[in-house]
């Protein structure tokens, strides 16, 4: 309904690491030419309501597949972390008044393949990895997430 999916230009696809290609191949992604489907924050949801979120048909159909999503990295809860929160807009969470309790509901949690190298939190970044949808509690941090991009890489 929102942005139409476009396959990435070939040049960018080739920029992907060999390992990503391998893992994508293992996931039986339909065609390697469509290395990662482009998702947007708006495109993830059919609706966001008080009593719950409805994911878009497209997001649900991309479960388990390689996706690319652009957003802003929220300052990680811990340095040396392998996961971070990707948000639609740069976050203004008050470090003195709030906690993870005040995250917007439409965050995406990104689990990286490698340890996080902090980026400029003002710069929109793109993340590629496998899309997971459904509640999951991180056994290490206790952080509960609904939408994740796992085995992910930060692409510029």
């Amino acid at each position: 309904m929102t942005e139409t999916a476009t396959s990435e230009p070939a040049a960018e696809a080739f920029a992907l690491s060999r390992r990503t290609f391998l893992s994508l191949a293992l996931l039986a992604v339909p065609t390697l030419a469509h290395a990662a489907e482009v998702l947007t924050f708006d495109g993830l949801y059919k609706s966001i309501g008080v009593l719950g979120i409805k994911y878009s048909d497209r997001a649900l159909s991309l479960k388990g597949q390689a996706v690319r999503l652009r957003g802003f990295m929220a300052p990680p809860l811990k340095p040396e972390s392998k996961f971070f929160v990707l948000t639609r807009e740069p976050v203004a969470v008050c470090p003195f008044c709030a906690s993870d309790a005040e995250w917007p509901v439409d965050i995406v949690v990104v689990y990286l393949r490698k340890t996080l190298v902090p980026v400029d939190f003002q710069q929109r970044i793109a993340v590629e990895g496998r899309l997971e949808i459904g509640s999951w509690t991180d056994p290490q941090s206790g952080f509960v997430s609904q939408v994740r991009i796992v085995d992910a890489d930060i692409i510029g």
Partner: protein, 591 residues
């Protein structure tokens, strides 16, 4: 090692054999305790104690005799080499001064408590407590200027909250710091005890779990025991600190999932705000819970009407049989007045049918007043604080006007309904904000800073208030210059943020808080180097609270106790006395 010490050192070491010399007693020294209210007695010993040598006395009497039950001795608290004595749900009914003495056989420590009663005769039937979160004098002055205007040197009309007979200055510091937060501050109002930053309904002890700290009873619990109805309405998330202080007992205000359970267990009659994700079982998409408990379902089963929009709220309130309401209007905070009524930014597109705080309060009063024993209602305009953190003056001022509109409506209701409602209007803490003049776009000067009018150059701003007291436009040529005294680096745009709430600063890749580049190219924007920490764990990405006093204005029966300078915790006592929570004298015992 000890053999090498001098005899004096050995003696000193023997007397102070443990690193922290004395035990800590909760409630703490100089605590004021409402007669009959419940509290947890906790004594923390600095080491492991011999139970046979431990004694805790109240005015010389064994505590077990005074409280009717002995405290439990925890030999190794949280598995550490320290013992504690703990007695949950203690209370003292006889007013007076109490000396509590705890000894482990070696060291002795005493604290003093004052237990107070209340007049035998109940003065007020209802209490409405308005809290403007972070609501400071600068906000108040600005709200007056924008919503009333000035003519011939006089404000054209009074704010409803200004037109009240009693006023006091409240000091807001807590047990740990001269600067408080909304948890600790609201806790003082709802319990009458002082605590520390981030704490709700507990003293801050050494307990490892945030839920294990010594508790004190909340206003909700006491009022419910007296058969009254209780409500809390806000435009923050309902689990946020101020509304949570009505029911919660936790050392950490961010325990949102636990706080939802505490709301449920409290049997509070009306609760409204945002923050729905913590009510949804974790398998529901959009949930923030870590368990499968469906609190929406539980509240409904317990007889609560559920409203997720203003339309549903109005219908529920009109239902003559509705006595309990859970209103959740946003997944996050309910949008503030400027977005809700004028700009339609924020989350208004996603949640187009949210009530404002005035409408929430109106619905709450309708429902709560069905209880013949009266009600206690806390009404919060929460985003004065949030918009002051984000350094967004117009949004903060609009939500101050909204607070005043709610006060006006409550005063009208009280007048039409027996004049037996105590109305209190205050803030929980302040922000370092100030009205310093105006900005005039029509000034011939080139740079924005030189378009700032000070002293006689400030003149009178151009706002045109509508019937609700909101200026129909905030982007007027001559507008208020409202400044923040403690800031991160940010771009000063000299203009209202018509496209959405300001985000002043963001961390860069090196972990340094820097000005948000998004505003760099706004015509006239200049970089302001901040004066708050920009590195480390306390780096500030926004404005902060100040330790300045806050104003309490009051009217109605019991309001005459509001005067001079008071501790914030004294506000609880004003309520307790007006409602005669602990009647003394002839009528004592009769409710």
């Amino acid at each position: 090692m000890r053999l090498t010490l001098s005899p004096l050192a050995v003696l000193v070491a023997a007397v102070f054999s443990l690193p922290a010399a004395a035990q800590t007693i909760y409630p703490i020294d100089r605590a004021d305790i409402l007669s009959g209210s419940r509290f947890d007695l906790k004594v923390e010993f600095p080491g492991i104690v011999d139970p046979a040598k431990v004694s805790v006395t109240i005015n010389g009497q064994d505590h077990a005799k005074v409280f009717g039950k002995p405290a439990e001795l925890v030999a190794r608290e949280d598995g550490k080499d320290v013992s504690s004595l703990l007695l949950r749900d203690a209370s003292i009914s006889k007013p007076g001064n109490y000396t509590v003495t705890a000894s482990d056989g070696t060291t002795t420590k005493s604290v003093e408590w004052t237990v107070y009663g209340t007049p035998a005769k109940r003065a007020a039937k209802n209490v409405i407590l308005f809290i403007g979160d972070g609501f400071s004098i600068g906000h108040r002055t600005a709200a007056r200027l924008l919503s009333k205007g000035v003519e011939n040197g006089k404000i054209k009309g009074k704010l409803a909250m200004d037109d009240m007979p009693y006023m006091a200055l409240l000091t807001t510091q807590g047990t740990d710091s001269i600067i408080t937060d909304s948890a600790n501050a609201a806790h003082a109002y709802t319990t009458g005890h002082k605590s520390c930053v981030n704490a709700l309904g507990v003293y801050c002890s050494r307990a490892a779990s945030t839920l294990d700290h010594p508790k004190v009873e909340t206003l909700t619990s006491i009022a419910k025991r007296k058969g009254m109805a209780v409500g809390a309405v806000t435009n923050s998330e309902i689990e946020d600190a101020t509304p949570a202080a009505m029911v919660a007992h936790t050392r950490r205000r961010s325990d949102f999932n636990d706080i939802v359970k505490m709301f449920y267990d409290s049997k509070i009659d009306v609760m409204m705000g945002g923050g729905s994700p913590n009510f949804l079982p974790k398998s529901t998409a959009g949930s923030k819970r870590s368990d499968e408990v469906d609190y929406i379902g539980l509240f409904k089963q317990a007889g609560y009407a559920l409203a997720t929009t203003k339309t549903e709220m109005l219908a529920a309130a009109d239902g003559a049989k509705t006595t309990r309401l859970l209103g959740l209007y946003n997944t996050s905070n309910v949008d503030g007045a400027l977005d809700l009524k004028f700009l339609k930014k924020g989350s208004v597109a996603k949640f187009p049918d949210q009530p404002d705080v005035v409408e929430e309060m109106d619905a709450a009063i309708k429902i709560l007043s069905r209880n013949k024993n009266g009600f206690v209602l806390m009404v919060e305009s929460a985003r004065i604080d949030k918009y002051s953190h984000s350094m967004d003056p117009e949004r903060a001022i609009f939500d101050t006007i909204m607070l005043d509109n709610a006060v006006k409506k409550a005063k009208d209701w009280a007048k039409a309904n027996g004049n037996n409602t105590l109305i209190l209007v205050t803030a929980d803490h302040s922000h370092p904000v100030s009205v310093i003049g105006t900005v005039d776009d029509n000034s011939p000067e080139a740079e924005m800073r030189n378009k700032v009018g000070i002293y006689e150059g400030a003149g009178i701003p151009d706002y045109q208030p509508n019937d609700e007291g909101y200026p129909v436009s905030v982007d007027v040529p001559r507008r208020l210059r409202f400044v923040f005294g403690a800031t991160p680096d940010y771009y000063d745009t000299f203009r209202p943020f018509l496209d959405g709430e300001f985000v002043p600063a963001i961390k860069n890749a090196d972990g340094v808080m820097v000005a948000n580049e998004k505003y760099k190219d706004i015509p006239g924007a200049v970089l302001r180097v901040g004066n708050l920490p920009n590195k480390g764990s306390r780096a500030a990405n926004q404005g902060i609270h100040s330790g300045d006093d806050v104003i309490l204005t009051a009217m109605g029966p019991g309001a005459e106790r509001v005067r001079g300078q008071m501790e914030n915790s004294d506000l609880f006592r004003v309520i307790a006395e007006a409602l005669s929570f602990a009647p003394q004298g002839k009528a004592a015992g009769k409710q």
